[in-house]
């Protein structure tokens, strides 16, 4: 089943055309990695998919579970099962971490016609997920990401993903700023969330993450378009040879 189908997507940020005809299809149960040089449009793509304001879609379409994703405000995308793990998770002092998790989960459940969880049921669920992410319970009663280290913020993102159980998870540079131990914890968390009815799209600079989370497909995004797709061996080749050969190959094609 097609989870996400992007066709000929054109996106402008300010007066800069960032995406110039990007097409990508992701099926349920698949893990895709999008790699590419700085400024190629990787982060723009996932932000547009999650509904961030400030981008103008000038052409193309995005279907998510057979719906027009771009027509929905961000909260409705989240409730429909789209989740973005931020590259730079936002610190929000004064909004409790556990409050956000509970409000988010209950908004999703309400949308799906499920009863809201009471405080007891919710805490039991969160405790279980926190173990998975090796997080201390003291995180719960702090402000959202307030004073968290870089690694703690990324773990908190995956904790949110584990609680919200999205159908489509978009991971934006989730490996950046992580030491090797933190990377393992985050990768284990993501791997434990792989399921037949869930798709994961990871944006990353480095092949390193893919050693821990093995992708089904790897795409090279450059100049606002997917230039090349392949299996995980493409990532290894990119690691060895860089991106220029892909660009040259695309230019001569």
């Amino acid at each position: 089943m097609s989870m996400l189908k992007i066709e000929n997507l054109h996106v402008r940020a300010g007066d800069k055309q960032v995406l110039k005809g990007l097409s990508l299809e992701v099926g349920a149960g698949e893990v895709h990695a999008i790699m590419g040089p700085n400024g190629s449009g990787k982060s723009t793509l996932v932000q547009v998919l999650a509904g961030r304001e400030g981008y103008e879609v000038t052409g193309g379409s995005v279907r998510y579970q057979e719906r027009d994703l771009l027509a929905l405000p961000p909260e409705e995308r989240a409730r429909a099962g789209v989740f973005l793990a931020f590259q730079y998770p936002v610190e929000i002092p004064g909004v409790n971490n556990v409050y956000l998790l509970k409000a988010g989960l209950n908004a999703l459940r309400k949308h799906r016609g499920l009863p809201e969880l009471d405080a007891f049921e919710f805490l039991a669920l969160v405790r279980e997920k926190m173990k998975l992410m090796h997080m201390d319970e003291s995180f719960l009663n702090r402000g959202v990401n307030e004073g968290f280290s870089g690694g703690e913020k990324k773990r908190n993102e995956i904790l949110q993903m584990a609680v919200l159980e999205p159908a489509l998870a978009l991971l934006d540079e989730t490996d950046s700023g992580l030491d090797i131990d933190a990377l393992r914890v985050v990768a284990n968390g993501v791997n434990s969330l792989r399921r037949a009815d869930r798709a994961i799209v990871m944006v990353t600079h480095y092949q390193r993450l893919l050693e821990y989370i093995e992708p089904d497909r790897v795409h090279v995004l450059s100049g606002g378009r997917i230039l090349k797709s392949g299996d995980k061996s493409l990532a290894l080749e990119l690691e060895k040879r860089g991106y220029d050969w892909v660009k040259q190959e695309a230019a001569s094609a």
């Binding site: 405000p73 909260e75 004064g94 988010g104 908004a107 402000g143």
Partner: protein, 442 residues
């Protein structure tokens, strides 16, 4: 009786003189004091924007009206009690500025604490009142403080004996009657905390009605060595009210004072909050929240005067202006030559919720000592778009996300509030103020 009637008098301050002549009682033991204050007020007139302290706050609309001294009157408790803070402590209700014993629930006298009405004190010992006012008045009282002095009818005198620590707060409700219009009240609250005593004072300007009224309230607090006063001032008067507040605090050695200035009500409000640290080791903490909406103009001017060595102050004001609301914060800190080793911190952070809102914030430091630490910071900005997106991307609708971020911005002031009843009350007010519109689901 004066031959000048209200209509004939030309200037506003002269109209107040006519009101003074019309309302003054011949047997008032404080006549001399009042008349002197009135003459100073008439000579000075209402403050104008030409005065630096009033640069951002225009009193012309207040000056154009003439408010007659309000009469105290009975009040239907049932209709108003729901606005009051339940179980906040020993309750005293001033209606139109006058103590209504029937509405108050002072309960058993707490050990070491004496509560008197100012009227009783004036009638029994006018000389003591005159002496107190003369001693506590600043060398140059502001014109509107003088207006209060000329007209005050009643108020509360709270005396704490040495080391007295009443186990519950004193809760003073300032309440207008529903029908009050074109009237003013000039309540006066006096607190004298003897050495080593502690108390919590909650002043609640609860408002009422829709008539135009003028509240001109003075609170005067003396804190002796090692004593502590925690002062809450919850201002939620109705939108047609003019609210002017004056709080003067003097602290002796190792005394502590904390203020929690919550300004949510009135069409135009101005608080002058002055603290003088007269003894070494004294400490003040000023917390404030100014949250204008609609066309409200809410102004707090604070002054912390470090007059002794080793004194400390910590000030945290938050402004949240929405719609066409306007907030003004001015934080003056004076460090006198003798006040070496002063440590003064000030933070003013402000949030604008719309293009029509405005906040003017200004630190004002006058430092005459050389071995001191003073820091200040002021910021003004809008809701963080990235934080808003972050919350929405987790499934929260835009209104809920905005409300959460606004509430988060006020959080440090809310959590500075000790008594749970007061904190709950403020949380409820903020919920109502920034609540979801009807019909929006979270």
């Amino acid at each position: 009786m004066s031959v000048v009637t209200l209509q004939e008098a030309r200037s506003s301050s002269e109209r107040y003189r006519a009101a003074f002549e019309a309302h003054g009682r011949a047997d008032d033991p404080l006549t001399g004091l009042r008349r002197a204050a009135l003459e100073r007020f008439v000579a000075a007139g209402f403050p104008t924007q030409r005065q630096e302290d009033w640069k951002y706050t225009n009193l012309r609309r207040l000056e154009a009206r003439t408010f007659a001294p309000a009469e105290g009157t009975a009040l239907d408790v049932g209709a108003h009690e729901q606005r009051w803070i339940a179980n906040a402590g020993t309750r005293i209700v001033l209606v139109n500025g006058q103590w209504m014993p029937a509405l108050s629930s002072p309960g058993p006298q707490l050990p070491g604490m004496t509560l008197l009405t100012l009227r009783q004190w004036s009638e029994h010992d006018a000389a003591a009142v005159a002496e107190f006012v003369a001693r506590t008045s600043r060398a140059q009282p502001s014109a509107l403080e003088d207006l209060n002095l000329a007209f005050f009818e009643d108020g509360v005198v709270l005396d704490l004996a040495a080391n007295a620590r009443p186990d519950q707060p004193v809760y003073i409700v300032h309440q207008w009657t529903d029908g009050a219009t074109q009237v003013m009240s000039n309540p006066r609250v006096i607190v004298r905390a003897a050495a080593g005593s502690r108390c919590v004072l909650i002043e609640h300007f609860a408002g009422a009605g829709t008539g135009e009224c003028f509240t001109n309230a003075v609170t005067d607090i003396d804190i002796a060595a090692d004593a502590q006063v925690e002062h809450y001032r919850i201002q939620q008067e109705s939108l047609r009210t003019f609210h002017i507040g004056h709080v003067n605090v003097r602290l002796q050695q190792n005394a502590r004072y904390s203020s929690h200035d919550i300004a949510l009500g009135a069409g135009l409000a101005r608080l002058n909050l002055g603290t003088t640290l007269q003894g070494p080791g004294a400490h003040v903490a000023l917390h404030g929240l100014l949250a204008p909406l609609a066309t409200q103009h809410l102004d707090s001017h604070t002054c912390i005067d470090h007059a002794a060595p080793h004194t400390t102050s910590d000030e945290n004001y938050r402004g949240i202006a929405g719609e066409r609301g306007r907030g003004v914060f001015n934080g003056k800190v004076i460090v006198r030559p003798a006040a070496q080793k002063t440590d003064a911190r000030q933070s003013s952070r402000n949030l604008l919720l719309g293009a029509g809102a405005e906040i003017d914030t200004k630190p004002e430091l006058e430092i005459y000592a050389n071995d001191v630490k003073c820091s200040h910071g002021a910021t003004t900005g809008q809701l963080d778009a990235t934080a808003l997106f972050y919350l929405r991307s987790r499934g929260l609708d835009e209104t809920t996300a905005r409300t959460l971020l606004i509430r988060a911005f006020a959080e440090s002031v809310v959590t500075s509030i000790g008594p749970q009843a007061v904190r709950n009350h403020l949380e409820q007010l903020l919920d109502e103020r920034y609540a979801l519109p009807a019909g929006v689901s979270s």
